[in-house]
């Protein structure tokens, strides 16, 4: 459905997109995961033909995407990172206005607006101005304006930024429903939990390059980390740390502020071995956590830095 090939975008000396390649299939919720400034939004703006790029090719629905591809734009809906609505118009008027940019038939438009209002559960607020809405409701209005014309392809650029947990869950559930209703979704975020929760396929992006692509499971399978053990409130010496590094399957060990974080390759009884060692050395300790690998581990292992850095 969307094909991006060797996309290069420079801002002066800064290389924002470095031969970026993406292939997004129909029916996917495709996640673009990367830290702030990694090139996610730039890639989307190029895809939407808003930004001129230096090199590469972009096709949408099998056709080249250009600024005057009005036919292609008809099938695309965008939910920008910043809420983009008119403060001077009510919830209903905003949705109707943006629907009017895609649909001219008044009767059809009215039905679509009603449907969108119902979808984002803003029916009770339809006469209110955006300034009267809470952050979560405002985000929902932002979504309604982008999906009201029932696009085949929906591009969501960090739609849950600065949203409370309850509203975030509502939004994520809504995205799943949109996908179930037949829309292909491109979803960018730097929240790995969100991406992990809803995306069927993910591209990890950093410094304008795609570092890895695959489902959550496929990405996790690419890395060595099978388990992360975290032990809090313990005092260790260099000797203890050296001993622990020698334990089986340990490949990375960090000890800071009386907290030990150990990354191990997938194996049985890793945690038991560590607890046995602490007991044998009579080292008291606090809370113990054992975690399966996350996308952050994937990002950390590929780039050497945390996703949230």
């Amino acid at each position: 459905m969307v094909h991006i090939e060797n996309l290069v975008k420079r801002y002066g000396d800064l290389l924002a997109l470095d031969h970026l390649n993406l292939d997004i299939k129909e029916g996917e919720i495709f996640g673009l995961l990367g830290p702030n400034g990694s090139g996610k939004t730039t890639a989307l703006n190029c895809l939407l033909a808003l930004l001129r790029y230096d090199k590469g090719r972009i096709t949408v629905f099998g056709k080249d995407m250009t600024p005057d591809s009005y036919e292609l734009k008809q099938g695309i809906g965008v939910i920008p990172q910043n809420v983009a609505v008119f403060d001077q118009m009510s919830v209903y008027e905003n949705i109707d206005y943006f629907c009017g940019l895609y649909v001219s038939d008044k009767k059809k438009r009215r039905a679509l607006v009603e449907e969108a209002l119902k979808f984002v559960e803003l029916g009770d607020y339809q006469k209110m101005r955006p300034k009267k809405l809470s952050g979560g409701l405002l985000r929902r209005l932002n979504i309604a304006c982008g999906i009201v014309h029932k696009p085949k392809l929906i591009i969501m650029d960090e739609p849950t930024v600065a949203v409370d947990p309850q509203s975030r869950n509502n939004i994520l559930e809504g995205i799943k429903r949109l996908n179930e209703n037949g829309s292909t979704i491109i979803y960018t975020s730097h929240y790995m939990e969100e991406v992990e929760q809803i995306c069927t396929r993910i591209a990890i992006i950093d410094k304008g390059q795609v570092l890895a692509t695959g489902s959550t499971e496929e990405l996790k399978a690419m890395i060595k980390t099978g388990e992360t053990i975290r032990i809090e409130n313990l005092v260790l010496t260099e000797e203890h740390l050296a001993d622990m590094r020698e334990l089986p399957h340990v490949y990375r060990l960090d000890y800071q502020e009386q907290t030990l974080v150990v990354r191990l390759s997938s194996a049985k009884h890793n945690l038991v071995r560590f607890l046995n060692y602490l007991q044998a050395k009579d080292i008291p300790f606090g809370r113990v956590l054992s975690e399966l690998p996350t996308l952050n581990d994937v990002f950390l292992e590929i780039t050497g830095k945390e996703l949230r850095d």
Partner: protein
């Protein structure tokens, strides 16, 4: 298209801060001008509702020429009342029933209650009479054959106290402030133009980006925006003009259709200026609004919004500034239409306005028509 037009209209009209600058502020300024010097101007020109100056006359001894002089002015410039003695006149003066009183004795005397405009007129009348009387005496003794002609010329005294412009229009010297105000109000459309670009350019706001990625043709969006803005600002001008003429009773001349046409040209000009300012990508929205304030207010200042004579001073020392300053061109066009009745000058102003409007509209169009950007 009608739906898009309707919502763009609503959105702009409901923008309180922009509508304040584009409509409310000129209305307030007009009211302020009217309160400050609207009537003063009318009175000074003799075009407004003139009320005669109440004046007392105390006849101590006979002075037929002066009495005849006062009789000639009575009912026109003054309203004389004869008092039996100076005490009664003084009492009336203290009670503010009269502005002053003449004591007709061997020597003429004038007692005044203050030093306002009416008191100055009375003092001038006496002064003028005494000069003319002295001159008449001189003519009678030196050239008695010309005395009749001289006295006839004195009879025309009143003819130059009242005057009219070419075409019978107002001569109110304060009218220039209102013409400058109209010019300023036209330029205030720049606020609407600047503000509208924030919502239409992808590199200026998320809202602009959202509109740009829609399948509605960019030219159609530009057309809707321009039409909406021109309509709103022109209606603002209609409201201001009606307010000045009907409510504040300002005489803007007889040719209202042409006045409105000039306002329409000024509106197109100012909207275009605003769009051109708004499309400068590198500046923040606050700075752009600041520039718009400067671009509307400073030219209006040079056109006489705060100091009525400045346009004439510039005309003497740097006439090119008046040709290039849109507010000065607009104010001069209004002046030609309402006062001066100079078709050549009016035509020149209309041509300059037309060229400016076409040029700035082209610049505005070119700056907002692009559909993709180097950076967002």
């Amino acid at each position: 298209m009608i739906q898009l037009f309707k919502y763009r209209l609503l959105q702009n009209v409901r923008d309180v801060s922009m509508m304040f600058w584009a409509l409310a502020f000129p209305l307030l300024l007009g009211t302020f001008y009217s309160l400050a010097f609207g009537n003063m101007g009318n009175n000074a020109a003799g075009d407004g509702t003139w009320s005669e100056i109440p004046v007392g006359i105390v006849n101590v001894s006979e002075n037929q020429p002066f009495e005849a002089f006062l009789d000639g002015l009575d009912g026109d410039l003054i309203k004389g009342k004869v008092y039996d003695d100076e005490g009664a006149a003084k009492k009336a003066l203290n009670n503010q029933k009269i502005k002053g009183y003449f004591v007709i004795d061997n020597n003429l005397a004038l007692k005044l209650s203050g030093n306002g405009l009416e008191e100055s007129i009375l003092a001038n009348l006496l002064n003028t009479y005494e000069k003319n009387a002295s001159l008449a005496m001189k003519v009678a003794t030196e050239k008695p054959q010309q005395l009749e002609t001289f006295l006839e010329s004195l009879g025309d005294y009143q003819s130059f106290t009242k005057n009219a412009s070419l075409g019978g229009r107002t001569l109110d010297p304060m009218i220039n402030y209102f013409f400058a105000l109209l010019a300023y109000a036209c330029l205030c459309g720049a606020f609407l133009g600047t503000r509208s670009t924030f919502d239409s350019q992808a590199n200026l706001s998320a809202l602009g980006a959202r509109r740009c990625i829609s399948p509605t043709h960019k030219l159609k969006l530009i057309f809707i925006d321009l039409t909406t803005l021109v309509l709103i600002q022109f209606v603002n001008m209609l409201i201001l003009t009606a307010y000045l003429i009907l409510f504040l009773k300002i005489d803007l001349g007889d040719n209202i259709p042409l006045l409105l046409f000039i306002e329409l040209m000024g509106t197109i000009l100012s909207i275009s200026i605003g769009i051109a300012i708004g499309s400068i990508a590198r500046l923040s929205q606050g700075i752009k609004i600041g520039i718009t304030v400067a671009v509307s207010l400073f030219p209006a200042f040079l056109a006489g919004l705060m100091f009525g004579d400045i346009r004439n001073i510039i005309e003497v020392h740097a006439p090119l500034v008046n040709r290039l300053n849109p507010a000065a061109v607009l104010a001069d066009a209004f002046y030609c239409l309402g006062v001066y009745n100079d078709q050549t000058r009016l035509t020149r102003n209309l041509i300059i306005l037309g060229v400016m409007a076409a040029l700035l509209l082209t610049v505005a169009f070119l700056s907002i028509r692009r559909e993709d950007y180097d950076s967002i």
